[in-house]
């Protein structure tokens, strides 16, 4: 195959060139195209006025009618589009009209190009895309002349002054980037939960321990922060689950953050996945698992939401619950560890 890629070996090429239908000559010397490019793209003497229907005027005439008909459909579709727009618009009709208009326009163009326009199988020269050696030498000379004049005896100006100054000024120039965002400080260590915060639902209504049935699940927020669509509140949504008294005793891992009353056993975990921060919204009551819909991280509720499948590396942090004398649930404190996905400074084992 190398013989073909290397254009200097011509025997094969000669053999290939002849049978092809070419509407003109091949080059300055018949058959010796390789290595002797034309000065321009296409040999000037190439006659390419031929097109497929040139010798059949009747067929050509019919083709003209066909193309005209297709383009008239495009015009008709244009009128249709205006009427459609005028009468209030309708997505499917607009789609159909636009598709027909463009489709017919294109079909006409293709038929025109294919049957009525000359120019198939023209042989052009590639020419040279690179410069002659003298030109390369000349550009090097020009460059050196300038750099020599700048650098000889005054190189220190560039090396010792301009480069460091440019560096400092460059840093100063990007310094305002710092005002794009606030200093993050300990922002990722805290949520909107605070000691004594009552658990409220998405409408801000406080939750009583008796509000959630066994196997029930409810998304809860700290009182006063029920809208999670803010940077302050986005990490605080939590899942409140009633897993019943019996299962409460079977838990293999147990931090003691739950609330028990009679047959009820309430636990509350961060709803923000420790993998990539999605809301862990799927609850499988049969296996007592929470599943994240984004990447299928699976947490075992009976092991204090230890991850048992998927990419999540850490358990969902648990909220320490308490019950007030009036029956309302509250958080004893904020989550004791950072909520959600990991980051460089998080550090330490979970």
């Amino acid at each position: 195959m190398e013989t073909l890629h290397d254009g200097t070996e011509t025997p094969h090429e000669e053999a290939f060139e002849l049978p092809r239908v070419i509407t003109g000559t091949h080059g300055p010397e018949e058959g010796a195209g390789a290595g002797t490019p034309w000065p321009d793209d296409v040999p000037p003497e190439q006659d390419d006025s031929w097109y497929p229907l040139k010798d059949d005027p009747r067929k050509a005439r019919r083709m003209e009618y066909l193309i005209a008909a297709l383009w008239m459909v495009t015009g008709g579709c244009g009128v249709g589009l205006m009427i459609c727009y005028w009468t209030g618009g309708q997505a499917q009709v607009e789609g159909a009209l636009l598709a027909s208009a463009f489709g017919c326009l294109g079909a006409g163009l293709v038929l025109w190009a294919r049957y009525l326009l000359p120019g198939q199988d023209v042989v052009g020269s590639r020419g040279e895309h690179y410069s002659e050696l003298e030109e390369r030498a000349a550009v090097v000379a020009s460059l050196s002349r300038g750099t020599d004049a700048m650098m000889s005896r005054r190189g220190f100006l560039v090396k010792k002054v301009l480069v460091p100054v440019g560096g400092i000024f460059g840093i100063a120039a990007v310094w305002p980037l710092a005002s794009l965002g606030p200093r993050y400080g300990r922002a990722l260590y805290h949520t909107a939960w605070y000691p004594g915060a009552r658990l409220v639902d998405q409408f801000g209504r406080p939750i009583k321990a008796s509000d959630v049935e066994v196997d029930g699940v409810l998304t809860v927020f700290p009182e006063g922060h029920a809208d999670p669509n803010t940077p302050q509140n986005a990490m605080s949504p939590a899942v409140l689950l009633n897993i019943g008294g019996a299962l409460m005793h079977e838990r293999k891992i147990n931090q003691g953050f739950e609330v028990k009353s009679g047959g009820n056993g309430l636990v509350c975990f961060s709803k923000i996945c420790t993998h990539a921060g999605c809301a862990v919204t799927l609850f499988n009551v049969l296996s007592m698992q929470l599943v994240c819909p984004c990447h299928q991280s699976t947490f075992d509720i009976l092991e204090d939401c230890r991850p048992v499948f998927g990419p999540a590396p850490r358990p969902l942090p648990q909220l320490h619950l308490g019950v007030r004398p009036d029956g309302y649930l509250f958080a004893v404190s904020d989550f004791v560890e950072p909520v959600g996905p990991g980051f460089w400074d998080r550090g330490g084992p979970a």
Partner: protein, 504 residues
Amino acid sequence: MSTVAERSAARKRALLEEKVLDELDDRLGSSKWLRSALDKVFPDHWSFMVGEIAMYSFVILIVTGVYLALFYSPSSAVVVYHGPYRPLDGQKMTQAFESVVNLSFSVRAGLVMRQAHHWAANIFLAAVAFHMGRVFFTGAFRKPRELNWTIGLTLLIVAMLEGFSGYSLPDDLLSGSGLRVVFSIIQSIPFVGVWLAFTLWGGAFPGTSVFFTRLFVIHEFLFPLILLGLLGAHLGMLWHQKHTDFPGPGKTEHNIVGSRLWPQYAVKSAALLTFIAAVIFGLGGFVQINPIWVYGPYNPARGSAGTQPDWYVGWLDGALRLWPHWEFRSFGHEIANPFFPGILLPGIVFTAMYAWPAIDRRLFADYGEHNLLDRPRDKPLRTAVGVAALFFFADLTVASATDLIGNALNVSFELLIEILQYGSFVAPIVAGVVAYKVCVLLQVQNAHPIQRPVGGVMVRDARGAFHTLGAEHAHAAPEGNGHEAAADSEETALEAAGGEPAPG
């Protein structure tokens, strides 16, 4: 044939053209360049159209995008919706979400424009990826075109980012989850991750009021500008270096066979633009895409099964699903889980792609210049690497839909994920080995993978006439180099078709 009237019209036209070109040349000296431009020859092969498909979908993206930008509101201010879409009536949402619902339902032609824009984006990325595959498998990136490979790859990356930023603008539940994941990925970068994420979002997730303004500026100004600049450079280089072509009858390293820019290629190319417009607007009118009113506005406490990004981000989402639950902690610091599939993997993949022309040169000890393309079979190693990469991407992309596939096949997603985890190693290796063997086999048999070889061996006698020696000699050909055989069968086909050039 022509009538007197036609002849006089042609004369008038010629005079006008002459006048316009003269005036231009007086000022710009444009004739020399224009002449070579109009006469420029472009080779015809269906696979060379794919890059054009990408370019023209980009044109449609700009046109529809400008229309959408006239109605979109990059604001996270909370409003209550009261509009024609009743299910959302009375719901609180950001102004960004509301403006997208409004431009879909209350602005005439808005829905078609929006859906066409989204379809065009998916088609654009598909065409770019396919085009890149074509360039890879045929070795079109070799000298002198390595620089253009680099620009093309940068175009692909910026196009992915552009697509994702646009997908995120409506602030719906689906795209909000995507932004949440991206925030987590950026946050996972060692040293600077949290600072970078807070800097981009203007604060903690989901960002302050500046976030959608920034996303909008990035999507409709910054990235399109970069894309336009890179596209200009891409086409400029193509124009200067001229297009590659497959080896074949009459084609050498020094000539180029095809149609002239004016008129045939220009008209055909315009036709391609209109066909792409027809497909995209047809899809925009008839095939629903990204119905954000079904997903609802974003809320960090909500989510839904079936959370998939647009197709071109699928492989990264799949990687996030397949990467095990590992993260690394020591000295009070940690490299969080999403860093590995979300930053390291694309980093390695794109670095390898940037480096490929250099790797390829050394691999095949081929530092020469090439204008004629390789057939994939003639470089089995490169083809095997490419096929392996495609299977790797396919495995990851399938992984991004584990929940949907599990549901459809009634298989647990756990099983699917485990299969695909092994598959991400096994599938590329097996596919690469098979591809290598197939290439070698095709070389030996000189066969087209889907066409039966035509005729036998062509010989040319002293007078230049061609004769077919018959099929019994075809088996004597294996020591030939493959190109010859392909050329032979094409020539035979030429003869059979009465001298019409065979396509391709």
